[in-house]
Amino acid sequence: MTSMKSVSVQRRQSFKRRLKRSFPYYLLLLLPIAYLFIFHYMPMWGLQIAFRDFQSQTPILQMPWRGLHYFEQFFSSALFWQYFRNTVAIAFYSLLAGFPLPIILAICLNECRFARFKKSVQMVTYMPFFISTVVLVAMILQFTARETGVVNHLLEFLGFNRVDFMARTQYFRHIFVWTGIWQSMGFNAIIYLAALSGISQDLIDAAKVDGCNKWRRVWHIDLPGILPTITILLILNISSLVSVGFERIFLMQNPFNLSVSEVLSTYIWRVGVAGGNYSFSAAAGLFNNIIAFALILIANFTARRVGETSLW
């Protein structure tokens, strides 16, 4: 009995001591917490305008309550569903085409025996990562221009007709996805290369002794070795599916391709900030965020079940 008492007293004391010891750390955390509170949690509080009529210069709690009015409005709008489909199409196309390529590049680099050639390929393929979105889109526009673009010069040289790529709806997705891959492939390969370099040489040597050829070594050693990395990156990619490169898509839009290029995030911006319809677009934004949040939970849960790897 006494011993139990003393233990609990000790514990309380040690808690007090730990609290006292933690105090300076709380002081250090003050600014970061204030930052998160203002720039991340206040916008979450501000999400209420999705359920209220926005009025400027009114405290948010005094704006008239509209319930699910704005959600019903966009769920019943045909445009909204068209843009939702555009978002899904671009997101999955990007994922399916863009996810495997960095892995293939990393495996090729890892197996390349000419050190200098390997270094040059790495160096060159990382470079586009440093090009800004604005410059990348400018390059796309310059190259695909109907009369002056290098792609059209090539088409004409080969005997085809010139095409106004950016104004044709059927090309938009391909251009968007493949230029994105062009920009990020090398950079995304770095992380896989790092994982590949962590695979033990003993394992590879043992496979060699057992008469495994290179194809089999890639399949049975390299791929399983980097599987945890692949899983983590897949989860991260899935969780950012719905945001589909907002800044780049926004710059690539023009009135002719809008029917395929308008995605939820650009639509939210256009209706909200540009059109001043804050409540409606905040509601659409909330829907967007909930999907993103659900996707990451599902992806993480599946990964934990199947591969025993997860983000948390």
Binding site: P24, P32, T125, S132, H153, I190, G211, G285
Partner: protein, 308 residues
């Protein structure tokens, strides 16, 4: 008989292996060469075009190397005040932003890396939740433009991005995986305060990860245009990327650049030339700095990938 048979089999499988390895090497080299060319060609084309005669660029005579080399495009770029102002502004925004990110990152990461911090679980959740859920574009815009009233204020480009939870986690992982607890504990026993430990031990020993984050963060700020585009109306405050958008994508050329050029075709040719020169000039600082920091960059990504 059986022995011979066996021998034959191993020979055969060795031969097959050799052939498979050969096909493997050929395919790998083909893929690498293909990827190298695909990435390299557009870059070379842009640089070559920026040095060429504008008419040659327009009519497709520039294929790989510059045609009738000239520096006219670059001369026009450096005559343009807007671009120079954009350069200066972006330099300021980037330096201030990077310094703030490093300070905030380490201020948050050091306490979160302590094992005995009371309420650590809750604090972690408080930080990490913001990575997975956000208020979204509209509440963020209203907060910055309306509530904080930062429209047309350079702070609108600096404050909202002054910290990133992603960097905090990178630093925290680095501290707890590569700075031994004994080191900080013995310093505390010697009477060093938490701030002393932070300043004398954690900061000097975290330099590699801080360098990497400075790089990541610098690239991100230098290349971002959207906040500048929505929050800044005053041309004197534009970051470089907003200026670039006006010139490259909206084709709003400053009359200064076109001052002494006669004839519509010549003007159009000059426009193309200027665009390519602008692309090169604006991307050059990062691309030139890159080879020097490449080693750190790769290391940093590996550090980050050690644990999620």
């Amino acid at each position: 008989m059986t022995l011979q048979n066996n021998n034959e089999k191993t020979n055969k499988s060795k031969w097959r292996n050799g052939w498979d390895d050969k096909s493997f090497n050929i395919i790998i080299m083909t893929i690498l060469i293909f990827m190298l060319l695909i990435v390299l060609y557009p870059l070379i084309f842009v640089v070559s075009s920026s040095f060429s005669d504008g008419r040659a660029v327009m009519t497709g005579r520039v294929v790989l190397w510059p045609v009738n080399p000239t520096l006219e495009g670059y001369a026009a770029v450096f005559r343009n005040n807007q671009i120079m102002i954009g350069f200066r502004n972006s330099l300021i925004y980037t330096v201030v932003g990077v310094v703030l990110n490093l300070i905030m990152g380490i201020l948050a990461a050091f306490p979160l890396s302590r094992k005995d911090l009371v309420g650590k679980r809750f604090l972690n959740l408080f930080f990490i939740f913001t990575m997975f859920f956000s208020g979204g574009m509209i509440p963020r815009f209203l907060l910055i433009a309306d509530t904080l009233g930062l429209m047309d204020n350079p702070l609108a480009l600096i404050l909202p991005g002054m910290m990133s939870v992603w960097y905090v986690i990178l630093i925290r992982t680095y501290i707890s995986s590569s700075i031994p607890d004994e080191l900080t504990e013995s310093a505390e026993l010697d009477g060093c305060s938490a701030i002393g430990v932070l300043w004398r031990i954690i900061v000097p020993l975290s330099k590699p990860i801080l360098a990497v984050i400075a790089l990541f963060c610098g690239v991100a700020i230098w290349n971002s245009y959207f906040d500048g585009f929505i929050f800044i109306r005053d041309g004197r405050l534009f970051p470089l990327q907003v200026v670039l958008r006006n010139i490259l994508i909206l084709s709003n050329m400053d009359p200064e650049m076109m001052a002494d050029i006669r004839g519509a075709v010549n003007r159009q040719a000059m426009q193309h030339l200027v665009k390519y020169a602008v692309i090169v000039v604006s991307s050059a600082p990062l691309l030139l700095a890159y080879p020097f920091v490449q080693r750190h960059f790769v290391k940093g990504i590996m550090l980050g990938s050690v644990k999620g």
